[in-house]
């Protein structure tokens, strides 16, 4: 039997903080097993060595924020058999998508001494707005267990066992006491995609929605409850829904509904 060549893996970066790519390096225990199963061909965060494409699997971090990005992602798509986006920037535009609610030209001069050097798009957009994406892995940052699951599922040709239901289910599986019901702490868990294992409620904090909207998220009903009896003001509601996944459709619409 001739050994099959290992699939070629590439890791790409767009506008992002690198945290999700680091999750791959953070897979200490699994890292050797991963390198045993795939050839890491392009991963500037980890190594300068580079093997030319095409690639079997591309992991894409970050959002599209410049005209150059918007071109580059098409090249990457063309050289990738399977393309998976990792993290809130790549799947929803990230925290930098806050610009989408304003006119970016008005604050470039406030930040940069030479605004004329800055070439940027008015919106920060997810990869899926530009090219076809095979799978979107959520989270800010992604959960490394879920990342390994995606790689594993890819290697064995099965669907990743990543459930799109609420964070509440994970919170309850962990045996937590609901912080919203028992303490009146605002929590986005009921509208947020699972993946973190209910991390914040485990530490008596409300969920920040790092994994973005869950399937069929009823943000309107939750927001009504957060307003009364929990007591959040309209401004607070805008801010609550407007963080790492601000531009994910369900969260975007909900934050806009509370703006005057």
């Amino acid at each position: 039997m001739v050994a099959k060549p290992k699939p070629k893996l590439a890791v790409w970066k767009f506008a992002s903080c690198d945290g999700c790519q680091l999750s791959l390096l953070d897979c200490e225990e699994e890292l050797l097993a991963i390198t045993g199963m795939v050839d890491i061909c392009y991963f500037p965060e980890a190594t300068r060595a580079e093997v030319k494409g095409p690639y079997d699997l591309s992991l894409v971090e970050g959002s599209i924020t410049t005209p150059h990005d918007a071109e580059r992602i098409h090249k990457i798509r063309r050289s990738s058999r399977t393309l998976v986006t990792i993290g809130a920037c790549a799947t929803a535009g990230g925290i930098q998508a806050l610009r989408n609610f304003k006119d970016v030209k008005t604050f470039i001069p406030l930040v940069y001494a030479q605004p004329s050097y800055i070439e940027t798009l008015n919106k920060s957009t997810p990869i899926s707005e530009h090219v076809f994406v095979d799978f979107e892995l959520r989270g800010c940052p992604i959960d490394k267990g879920q990342l390994v699951e995606v790689l594993n599922a890819y290697l064995w040709g099965r669907k990743p066992a990543i459930r799109p239901h609420s964070t509440c289910i994970e919170c309850k599986l962990a045996g937590n006491v609901c912080v919203m019901v028992a303490k009146g702490i605002p929590c986005l868990g009921p509208v947020t995609h699972a993946g973190c294992g209910g991390l914040c409620p485990t530490y008596q904090r409300g969920c920040y929605g790092c994994f973005g909207p869950k399937e069929d998220s009823n943000t309107r009903s939750l927001a009504a409850r957060l307003a009364s009896p929990i007591g959040m003001e309209e401004d607070d509601l805008v801010r609550l829904f407007r963080s790492f996944n601000a531009y994910a459709e369900d969260f975007r619409k909900e934050s806009e509904a509370h703006e005057d």
């Binding site: 790689l151 066992a161 609420s166 509440c168 599986l173 609901c178 008596q204 399937e215």
Partner: protein, 381 residues
């Protein structure tokens, strides 16, 4: 019937531990009554008062000398019997082929300390589901086999409780080895103990006790009568299967779907909900695989995902499925309602959706003639 002093609770705990039981019971954690291991009697939640209402739970000191002035809290006993996550089997692959290895079901002996009457009714329902059908769940059976139950009758039902209309409380009739009722004959708390099994009798024999007097028994009757009167909430179960049959397209489902988050908290906290999914995982090299069973919920889309999509794609159809199964179809399937009136789904629903109010709303729509036809959905959608 016997009477013991509050310090007898510690002796009871020790007696159980000495006989090799892992004792679990109510403790206070993160602002709520939870069911966890009782390492010593200091862990047991005593003199706490809970306030419950739809979507709201608060725990404060009772300050009235009562030991058990709280009702069912954040957890259910099902976490010890029908566990949130169970490894079903593992498999390994080598040159010789695939080797399946079943996971052991062996359980130590567990004693539930302070199970409420509605909770005993819930365990009886899960017994029917897991033990009395054509397929016995070996994991549940193993956990259940040597279980010891110290029941605790309710003197302080919460505002979410509706055991009376579901005929499950506030007094336990069966399903326990020992059953306690807190009384205050002379201002001081005492506990009247009823023996429900031979093992229960043997364990009680180890404790300092006296025979219950007529006055003690009168206090028990009075306490539980008063408790019954304090159960404000109720669910009208009269002709309930017919109600759900007729309400299949009620506009009420649209109404509740606007409020329901589909978060599944209600099913997670329900002591009778039993649905699970199985998840397969393997190591990266493909040499080892594991099948795990975890709690699932009819409120997720994946729950009914078959080729081409989810059978119940809307919040409308998912809420309808849950309540119709729980209160009506369950009767056909298992000969009992799936609801014991513990009130958890009401308290722990983040937006306070109340199962009893939803039934009332369905009835009201029938009375006013707005019971069908006004729905925006067809059939199962």
């Amino acid at each position: 019937m016997w009477t013991i002093q509050p310090r007898g609770l510690g002796d009871l705990l020790e007696a159980l531990r000495n006989r090799g039981y892992r004792v679990v019971g109510p403790v206070v954690r993160d602002g709520a009554i939870c069911y966890e291991d009782l390492g010593s009697i200091e862990d047991l939640a005593l003199a706490w008062l809970d306030e419950q209402e739809p979507g709201n739970y608060r725990l404060t000191g009772s300050g009235n000398g009562d030991l058990f002035s709280y009702s069912p809290g954040a957890h259910t006993w099902k976490k010890f019997l029908h566990k949130p996550s169970v490894t079903l089997w593992r498999a390994t692959k080598d040159q010789k082929g695939l080797h399946l290895k079943e996971e052991p079901t062996a359980e130590g002996k567990v004693a539930l300390f302070g199970a409420r009457p509605c909770e005993l009714a819930a365990i009886a329902i899960q017994d029917r589901v897991f033990l009395e059908g054509p397929f016995v769940d070996s994991f549940y059976a193993a956990a259940r086999k040597e279980m010891f139950v110290v029941a605790l009758n309710c003197s302080h039902p919460s505002k979410s409780c509706f055991c009376v209309s579901m005929k499950t409380g506030p007094r336990a009739a069966t399903g326990f080895d020992l059953c306690l009722t807190e009384i205050h004959p002379n201002g001081e708390a005492e506990l009247v103990v009823e023996v429900g099994s031979e093992t229960g009798g043997l364990i009680l024999a180890d404790l300092q006790r006296r025979e219950a007097t007529e006055k003690d028994l009168e206090a028990v009757r009075k306490t539980l009568e008063e408790a019954e009167q304090r159960v404000e909430r109720s669910l009208d179960t009269e002709g309930i299967q017919g109600l759900f049959d007729r309400s299949f397209e009620s506009p009420q489902w649209d109404d509740v779907a606007r409020r329901c988050l589909g978060c599944a908290n209600c099913t997670m906290v329900c002591p009778t909900c039993f649905c699970t999914t199985v998840v397969e995982s393997s190591d990266l090299a493909g040499a080892e695989a594991t099948r795990t069973r975890i709690w699932d919920s009819c409120f997720t889309k994946d729950f009914t995902y078959i080729h081409g999509g989810s059978v119940r794609p809307s919040g409308y159809s998912r809420y309808r499925q849950w309540i119709t199964h729980k209160l009506a179809n369950w009767i056909e399937q298992f000969g009992t309602s799936g609801c014991v009136g513990c009130g958890r789904c009401i308290t722990w629903c983040p937006v306070g959706i109340d199962i009893t109010a939803e039934v009332e709303a369905l009835r009201a729509r029938e009375r006013t003639g707005s019971g069908s036809g006004g729905s925006s959905h067809e059939g199962n959608a």
